[in-house]
Amino acid sequence: MIAFTLNGAPARTDAAPFAPLSDTLRESLGLTGTKVGCEAGDCGACTVLIDGVQACACLVPTAQVEGAEITTIEMQSGEAGALLARLRAAFMAHGAAQCGICTPGMIMAAADLLLRDAAPDAQAVRDAIGGVLCRCTGYQKIVEAILAAAQGFAAVEQEAPAGGAVGASIARLDGWPKVLGTERYGADAAPADALWLRVVRSPHASARFTLGELDAARTRLGLTAILTSADVPGLNAFGIMPALKDQPVLADGFVRYRGEAVLALVGDRAAVEAVRDADLPITWQPLPALIGVAAARADGAPLLHAHAPGNILVQGRLARGNPDAAHATAAATAEGAFTTSFVEHAYIEPEAGHAIPREDGMDIIACTQAPYMDREEVARVLGTPEDSVRIIPSACGGGFGGKLDVSVQPLLAIAARRVNRPVRVTYSRTESMASSTKRHPAQMQARMSADAEGNFLAYTLEGDFNTGAYASWGPTVANRVPVHAAGPYRVPHVRAHARAVHTNEPPSGAFRGFGVPQAAIATESLVDDLALQLGMDRWDIRRRNALTRGDATHSGQVLHASAGLPECLDALKPDWDAMLAKVAAHNADNPRHRLGAGIACMWYGCGNTSMSNPSRIRATLARDGRLTLWNGAVDIGQGSTTVIAQIFADALGLPVAALTIVTGDTALTHDAGKTSASRQTFVSGRAAMQAGQALRAQILKLANAGDDARISLAGTTLTITDSAGAARGIDLATLPADLDAEGRYDPPTTALDADGQGIPYATYGFAAQIALVRVDTQLGTVKVEEIVAAQDVGRAINPDLVLGQIHGGIAQGLGLALMEEYIPGRTENLHDYLIPTAGDVPPIRIHLVEDPEPEGPYGAKGVGEPALVPTAPAILGAIRHATGVRVTRVPVLPHRLWEAMR
């Protein structure tokens, strides 16, 4: 027995002495507020206080806490409890928690600081939280919250008056459990009798394998089951595209990437975790692997899939005008070849969940961005009807596109079916990184021309996108890139080709921006080239060509409304001029540490490309007075639960506080589509608005009141007050049935023709950003000093949440530009794969531009992905401004910039 003090009370555990404290807290003592993100001290999610100072609980043997005093996020009493209460409130009030998975660690690291230093400055705060990674917020609001907590209690505003919710920065409605440590993520809850599952994965990028005597192995190793591809009762295949289910749940004698699932071991925890892969009867026959698109496209390269000749999964194409002729006669032409790397989502919550077999079906509780798609996938794999599968999303500790594909879900389902008991699984960090999807590495050859006045004439792009071993969202990237590639500019002649190419590398899938961030790196660099050639300012050339209302896009779609790029650029102009002046003044006498300013624009279509992607939202007002919003949209931290409630509340005319919200359970809520493509505010928000309006209409009809009447609800009494002040009460209890209303919205799009012409999206987000960087020209290091963003969001339903999305997108864009490079087998953890820390993200200032979208709820459109797109090209432009070097490969690691400068 190991005895210690836990949150002020005596505690004992019989956990193994070598068990990390994080595991002992979670699994033996039931305190799951302490999160596990890496088991290696790289992410700080498990930060607790030991004898008053912060430590990663994953790096502390339980034996070492004998006699120690442990404080976790659950602490409520004493001095530490009072401090934690202040921090929790400040995190709420400042929007410092998005997905919330890093929040307990952040709060504990902050507590460590504030216990020693009651009035720290921002630098001291960053130093204190430097060991905790956040992938959502960009850290700015976290630093603000900690500084505010040092000052005292922050007021947390979660209410807005009836009709006043839209536009109010209320604190996120799902926030308290995140700051209290009571939120339940994928790994935080499972039935006590659940068996554990571990996946055995291929260490080879390409190989055949044979399996020996598994039954004997199972007995010898004390396992309940060893599952192979033969144990998949339905189709051993999953995949995003309706007609392309190409990825096996468990490989059948052949693997196509390192990290592919081969076997599933099921049993009690100790047995499952003790198994060495070397003790399993697997015989590997490694095969030559196709690494990189050049190898995959080479003559005679082996085919990964019979349906993909030349290893080309799909090609996207857009053609308009005659770009070759325009290039030939243009006053200025720029071209270049650009390369990007695999980028890992690096959500701090590795995939996790559990399955519960039912007599007539299967419940899956796991982190996800797409419960209804998960249901389809699981049902297909089980060979059962869809309605026999229930997906109950756990809280989602970050997604960014990486949790759109199924991961644990089909494995859990087949295991739970086979052993007929609940089964749970939690991926390790390395397993998550090795097995999950990535951002497509791109190799792009692009060319852009302008006339002598700087009007863009033509743009051409040939892009190979490494889609890895399986299709995942490769077709989406290949289709989205050509539409967006030429940028948010008027360009009369465009040809863009994007190919998704299979390789023996991890499947590339959805990642915030679906290929558009990669294309923007190429295009914005060419825009800078043209400005340079023509002697124009980089802001001027963008402003001159910026798409605006009335313009036709490259796919021939006329933008009738909500095209606020000119306004974004205008908002940035004073900042841009000031930045240029600062650079000039500094560089005049600083030959080594050079400043540079960069600028980039972006546009981004909200919703699926030329495909139906409806959302359905239901609302009920029951006879007992309970008002319920049945919202199937999964909030992965971006704030849809709050935003959709704000929209619905105003449409109905009751305050947000009157709502009970049920989210994302396929048995309870309708399909609100995936949390992807920046669509939840726009599409599900519009459905929620319609649901609110429909319910309001039912209420007004009951009272025979006009549209301008006010509604209030107290207990079971609805009061409807007309514009003259006359009030009428309705007792809900006397109604024959509950009021039940629904909203459905599917953004209007058309199919694209063979030239990519049509209406791919109902609306587009627009943004521009400028970046100031400091380059050490001797060492090749780059420090981003400031970013100013301007983004047209249509309407900011919740401005603080919008700012949080922009901060987070910028942080990820910074990582893409400067440090993130996933290399299978080399950077499979969070110390070799680098994401920005609190010391890397600069101060960010934001101009919100609101050019209302008539299709959107209250004028709103998507904000999640757009913020990421311009950041990397703006940083690259700034590096060039500082050094004169046009960087064509990201990430710009110090040695790469150093080489380019020589």
């Binding site: 430097g130 060492l779 290399i823 680098l834």
Partner: protein, 281 residues
């Protein structure tokens, strides 16, 4: 199942060490990441563990008439906050930049040395401080210089029956020191290259003795004897002009995911000049 020993005396610890094949555990900040990495690819086994943290008397920084003794459980944070003379400034800077605060609070300076990673942030500083390692074994204790203690990539001269007990550093009252670390992000970053220096000067700022070392560029951190020789007798205020590429000719820099060898060679030279410039300020 991993056996876990946590003896309360050094005698007991040495007896376990002598009789069993155990991994010595102190701050544990290296052991768990390495174990997580092996486990992820199918090897959940772990050597038996000898946890030395229950042994009293190993956590102290003590001053003697001639020098300082850092017990083997002294953490980065302890060094960062200790009242130590300027010769320790470099080690202190390393202590503030290794890992995150969590790792600084648990990880030990001596453990960093024993892990002997090329990127161990403490090691160049210990070389520049001309540190000796006090090693306890069945036949008593012995002292050895850090340069001899380190025998290669993640390899040391620590015998299978020995435990490294402390670091000994001679006093240099006038010496100044510093550390420069280069990485691709601000916090939580593994060094691409680093330099450490301890420079003893006379009252006029003339260099009496310089010890400089480079880490993360070679399999083990290296001193720079030729440069140190040339610096002797020069003024610290001009010392940054002395380092030349030829002073690094004996190094064979590594080429890995973090940087190329050519870059490391050049960056190390630049960091050296920067460090000497800073010390001369």
């Amino acid at each position: 199942m991993t056996r876990y020993h946590r003896p309360a005396t050094l005698t007991e610890a040495l007896s376990i060490r002598a009789s069993e094949d155990v991994a010595i555990l102190a701050g544990a900040t290296d052991i768990y990441p390495a174990s997580a990495n092996r486990r992820a690819w199918g090897d959940p086994t772990h050597k038996d563990v000898l946890d030395i943290t229950a042994i009293p008397g190993l956590r102290d920084i003590t001053e003697t008439p001639h020098g300082f003794r850092l017990g083997c459980l002294v953490t980065w944070s302890q060094v960062a906050r200790a009242d130590l003379p300027k010769q320790f400034d470099g080690l202190r800077q390393a202590a503030r930049h290794v890992g995150g605060v969590q790792v600084q609070n648990r990880g030990t300076i001596l453990g960093n040395l024993v892990t002997a990673s090329p990127a161990g942030d403490g090691i160049p500083n210990l070389l520049a401080l001309d540190t000796s390692v006090e090693v306890a074994g069945p036949n008593g204790t012995r002292m050895m210089p850090v340069a001899d203690f380190l025998t290669g990539y993640r390899a040391t001269a620590l015998a299978r029956d020995e435990i490294a007990l402390a670091l000994h550093i001679a006093k240099m009252p006038r010496a100044v020191s510093g550390f420069r670390k280069l990485g691709a992000r601000h916090y939580l970053v593994i060094s691409i290259a680093m330099v450490a220096g301890v420079v003893d000067i006379d009252e006029n700022g003339r260099i009496l003795m310089a010890r400089l070392s480079i880490g993360a560029c070679t399999a083990t951190a290296q001193r720079l004897p030729a440069l140190e020789g040339e610096l002797r007798g020069t003024s610290l205020y001009h010392a940054d002009k002395v380092p030349e590429a030829r002073h690094l000719d004996h190094l064979a820099p590594i080429d890995d995911i973090r940087a190329t060898a050519a870059y490391r060679r050049d960056a190390a030279l630049r960091l050296l000049r920067d460090l000497l410039w800073e010390l001369g300020e």
